[in-house]
C-alpha cells in the first residue's frame, strides 16, 4: 500500500488526472454558483425584472430564468459525468495498472 502510494504520487499521469479533474470540477462548480447566485441576486435586487411580463402576456421573465437554472443544473452534471466516467476513469485505470 505504502509503496503503491509512492509510485502513484510519482506517476505523471496522476498529476495530470488530479489537475485536469480538479480544474474541470471547479470550473463547473463556479458556473453553477454563478448561475444560482445570479438568480438569487435577481430575486433580492431585481424583483422588477423577474416580475416583468414577456411581451403582452402574464408570463414573466422569472419563469424562464427559473427554468433555465433548473435545467442548467442537470446539463452541468451530465457534462461532468460524461467526461469523468470516460476520460478520467480511463486515466485512473492506467495509473492503478502501472502502480501494481
Amino acid at each position: 500500500m505504502k509503496e503503491n502510494a509512492q509510485r502513484i504520487l510519482a506517476n505523471p499521469k496522476f498529476q495530470e488526472l488530479v489537475q485536469k479533474r480538479s480544474a474541470f470540477a471547479w470550473t463547473l462548480s463556479i458556473a453553477m454558483l454563478v448561475i444560482y447566485f445570479g438568480f438569487i441576486l435577481l430575486v433580492a435586487f431585481g424583483k422588477g425584472f423577474l416580475g416583468t411580463p414577456i411581451g403582452n402576456g402574464v408570463t414573466t421573465w422569472g419563469i424562464p430564468v427559473g427554468l433555465f437554472t433548473i435545467i442548467s443544473a442537470f446539463i452541468l452534471t451530465g457534462i461532468y459525468v460524461h467526461r469523468a466516467n470516460g476520460e478520467f476513469d480511463e486515466l485512473n485505470r492506467q495509473i492503478m495498472e502501472e502502480s501494481k
Binding site: 500500500m1 503503491n4 502510494a5 502513484i8 504520487l9 496522476f14 488526472l17 488530479v18 479533474r21 470540477a25 471547479w26 463547473l28 462548480s29 453553477m32 454558483l33 448561475i35 444560482y36 447566485f37 438568480f39 438569487i40 441576486l41 430575486v43 433580492a44 435586487f45 424583483k47 423577474l50 416580475g51 411580463p53 402576456g57 402574464v58 408570463t59 414573466t60 422569472g62 419563469i63 427559473g66 427554468l67 437554472t69 433548473i70 435545467i71 443544473a73 442537470f74 452541468l76 452534471t77 451530465g78 461532468y80 459525468v81 469523468a84 466516467n85 476513469d89 485512473n92 495509473i95 492503478m96 502502480s99
Partner: protein, 572 residues
C-alpha cells in the same frame, strides 16, 4: 370533511371522471360514495404497505453483515441509487410543501425548488467521488478519516442527529395532516402508524429494504405527479400562458404571483436561504449515506446525474401542480361552489376566496388538486403515494440517525472500535425504535408548522455543521482535529441558537411578540462562521498530533482521488 368528499365525489361522478360507472352503479347516496372513496385510498395504501413489507422480509433474509445493514452490501446500481436519492429528496415536504407554497405565493415556490436542486451539481463536482472513495457507512467515516475518532465522531453524530430530527418533524407533521384529511383519522394515529412502519422497515430490512421502498415510491410519485401536471396543462390546451392568465385572475395577489414576493423579504434572507439550501444538501446524512450503497465512484457519479434529472423534473411538475391548485381550488366549480375551501371562512369573507381558506391547510393543495383533476380514484392514489413518500423518507432518515448512534457513537466512541458487527447492528436497531418513538412525540408537538420551513431548518444545520467539516476534511490538508471539532460545534450551536431566536421558533412557536434574531435562515452567518472557525483553530494548532494529521493527508488524498483501498461491493 365528510361533506367535502361527498360533494367532490358527486361532482366527479357527474363529470364522468376516471371512475368506471360500474363502481358507482349501486351507489346513489353520497355517504356510500364516501365509503367507496376511502376504500380505494386505503386499499392502495395497504397494497403499498404489504408490498414494502414483503420487500423488507426479502431484504431481512439477505441482510447479515454490517455492510448489508448500513450500505445494502454496496450492490445498488447508479440508476437505482439515482432513483433512491431522488426519492429521499422528493419528500412529502417538497411535494406538499412546495406545491402549497406555489399555491399561496406563486413564484416564491420556484425559488425554493431551485435552491433545493442546485446543491446536486456541487455535490457531484466536489464531494461525491471523494466521499465514495473514503467512506464506509456514514459521512463521519470520511470527516474523521485522518483525525482523532472520539471528538470528531461525537461532533459529526450530533450534527447528523440534529439534522435528522428537524427533517423528521417535518415528515411527521405531513403524515398527520394527510391522514386527517384522507381517512378522517386522528392526527395522533397517523403519526403512530408512520412511526411503527418505519421501525419495521429499518430494523428488519436495513438499507436494502429502505432503498427499495424509496425506489418504488419514487416511481409512483413521479408517475402520479406527471399525470397531475399533464391533466392541469391539458385543461389549458397545454398553454402555460393560459394557465398563468387564469391563475392571476382568481388569486387575490393577482399578477403578484408571477414575481418574487413577500416570502423573500430582503437580500440577506434571499442569500441566506440560498446558501442553506445549496450547501445543506451536501450535508444531509441520509443522502450522503446513499453514496456508500453503490460499488464505486463511477456509479456514485451516475447516481447524482440521474438524481438531478429526476429531482429537476419533479420540481417543474410541482410548480405546475401548484398553479393547478390556484386555478382549480380558487375558482368556482360548475355549480358555483368552492368544494375545497372552508365554507365558514368563505362566508365570513363575503364569498371572496383566498388561499388560506383551503381545507386542511396549504400543505393539502396538491392533494386537493389530485381530487379535482383525477376524481376519487386518483385522489386515493395520490394520497396513498404521499403517505408512502413520508414512510420511505422517514425510513431513510431513521437509518441515518441510527447509524450515527451505532456506527459513530457506539462503535467508535464508546467501544473504541472493539464492538462486534453483531453488537453494532443491535445498537442500531434499538436506536431505530427509540428514534421512532421520539419522532412520534415531536410530530405531535409541531403540528401547526409549515412543513417546507421545517425542512429549511434542517438544511441550515446540515449546511453549517456537517458540510464545512466534510468539505474541509477532504480539501484542506492543514485541517486538524481541534479546528474541525470546534468549527463543527460552532456551526451547530450557532445555527440552532439563531434558529431558536429567529421568527420561526421564537415568534411563531414560542409565542413571543418579536424575534431576537431577525432572519428565518441564519445560513449566511453560520456557514462562513463555521469555515472561519475551522481555519482559525487549525492554523493555531501546533501540537504533535496536528502535525501527524497534516502528514496523513497525502495518503487520504491518493485514496480519495484514485479509489485505491476503497470499500468495494460485498461478495453476494
Amino acid at each position: 370533511m365528510r361533506s367535502l368528499v361527498n360533494r367532490v365525489g358527486v361532482a366527479a361522478a357527474a363529470a364522468g371522471a376516471l371512475i368506471p360507472a360500474s363502481v358507482y352503479a349501486a351507489a346513489v347516496e353520497g355517504a356510500v360514495q364516501k365509503q367507496a372513496t376511502n376504500y380505494s385510498a386505503i386499499v392502495m395504501f395497504l397494497i403499498f404497505v404489504f408490498a414494502t413489507l414483503g420487500i423488507t422480509y426479502w431484504a431481512a433474509r439477505r441482510t447479515k453483515s454490517a455492510k448489508d445493514f448500513y450500505a445494502a452490501g454496496g450492490g445498488i446500481t447508479g440508476f437505482q441509487n439515482g432513483l433512491a436519492i431522488a426519492g429521499d429528496y422528493m419528500s412529502a415536504a417538497s411535494f406538499l410543501g412546495i406545491a402549497g407554497l406555489v399555491y399561496t405565493s406563486g413564484f416564491d415556490g420556484l425559488i425554493f425548488s431551485v435552491g433545493w436542486l442546485v446543491g446536486w451539481p456541487i455535490i457531484l463536482f466536489l464531494v461525491a467521488e471523494r466521499l465514495r472513495n473514503l467512506g464506509k457507512y456514514t459521512f463521519a467515516d470520511v470527516a474523521s478519516y485522518r483525525f482523532q475518532q472520539t471528538p470528531m465522531r461525537t461532533m459529526a453524530a450530533c450534527g447528523s442527529l440534529a439534522t435528522v430530527t428537524f427533517y423528521l418533524i417535518a415528515q411527521m407533521v405531513g403524515a398527520g395532516k394527510l391522514i386527517q384529511l384522507l381517512f378522517g383519522m386522528d392526527y395522533l394515529w397517523a403519526v403512530v402508524i408512520v412511526g411503527v412502519l418505519m421501525i419495521a422497515y429499518v430494523t428488519f430490512g436495513g438499507m436494502l429494504a429502505t432503498t427499495w421502498v424509496q425506489i418504488i415510491k419514487a416511481v409512483l410519485l413521479l408517475s402520479g405527479a406527471s399525470f397531475m401536471a399533464f391533466a392541469v396543462l391539458a385543461k389549458f390546451g397545454f398553454s402555460p400562458e393560459a394557465m398563468f392568465t387564469t391563475a392571476t385572475q382568481v388569486h387575490p395577489k393577482a399578477t403578484g404571483i408571477m414575481a418574487p414576493g413577500a416570502l423573500i423579504s430582503d437580500p440577506v434572507s434571499a442569500i441566506s436561504l440560498g446558501m442553506a439550501l445549496m450547501f445543506g444538501t451536501a450535508g444531509l446524512p441520509h443522502i450522503l449515506m446513499r453514496f456508500f450503497t453503490v460499488s464505486d465512484a463511477r456509479e456514485a457519479r451516475k447516481s447524482v446525474f440521474y438524481a438531478t434529472g429526476f429531482i429537476g423534473y419533479f420540481y417543474i411538475l410541482t410548480f405546475i401542480i401548484g398553479f393547478g391548485a390556484i386555478v382549480l381550488l380558487l375558482a368556482p366549480d360548475a355549480t358555483g361552489a368552492y368544494p375545497f375551501l372552508d365554507a365558514a371562512k368563505l362566508a365570513a369573507a363575503g364569498g371572496k376566496p383566498a388561499p388560506a381558506m383551503i381545507i386542511g391547510g396549504s400543505n393539502m393543495a396538491a392533494i386537493h388538486t389530485a381530487h379535482a383533476v383525477g376524481g376519487d380514484l386518483f385522489f386515493g392514489f395520490i394520497s396513498a403515494v404521499a403517505f408512502a413518500t413520508i414512510l420511505a423518507v422517514v425510513a431513510g432518515l431513521t437509518l441515518a440517525g441510527a447509524s450515527a448512534v451505532s456506527h459513530d457513537l457506539y462503535a467508535s466512541v464508546i467501544a473504541k472500535g472493539r464492538a462486534s458487527e453483531h453488537d453494532e447492528i443491535r445498537v442500531s436497531k434499538i436506536t431505530t425504535v427509540v428514534i421512532g418513538i421520539v419522532s412520534i412525540f415531536l410530530g405531535i408537538a409541531f403540528e401547526n408548522q409549515n412543513v417546507a420551513f421545517m425542512v429549511g431548518l434542517a438544511f441550515v444545520i446540515a449546511a453549517s455543521a456537517n458540510f464545512p467539516v466534510l468539505l474541509m476534511s477532504m480539501f484542506w490538508s492543514k485541517m486538524t482535529t481541534r479546528g474541525a471539532v470546534l468549527g463543527g460545534w460552532i456551526g451547530l450551536i450557532s445555527s440552532v441558537t439563531l434558529l431558536i431566536l429567529g421568527p420561526t421558533v421564537w415568534k411563531s412557536v414560542l409565542g413571543n411578540p418579536a424575534a431576537i434574531f431577525p432572519y428565518d435562515n441564519p445560513g449566511a452567518f453560520t456557514i462562513p462562521l463555521s469555515f472561519l472557525a475551522i481555519w482559525f483553530f487549525s492554523i493555531t494548532d501546533n501540537s504533535k498530533a496536528a502535525q501527524d494529521e497534516r502528514e496523513a493527508y497525502k495518503a487520504q488524498y491518493i485514496r480519495s482521488q484514485t479509489g485505491l483501498g476503497a470499500e468495494g461491493a460485498s461478495a453476494h
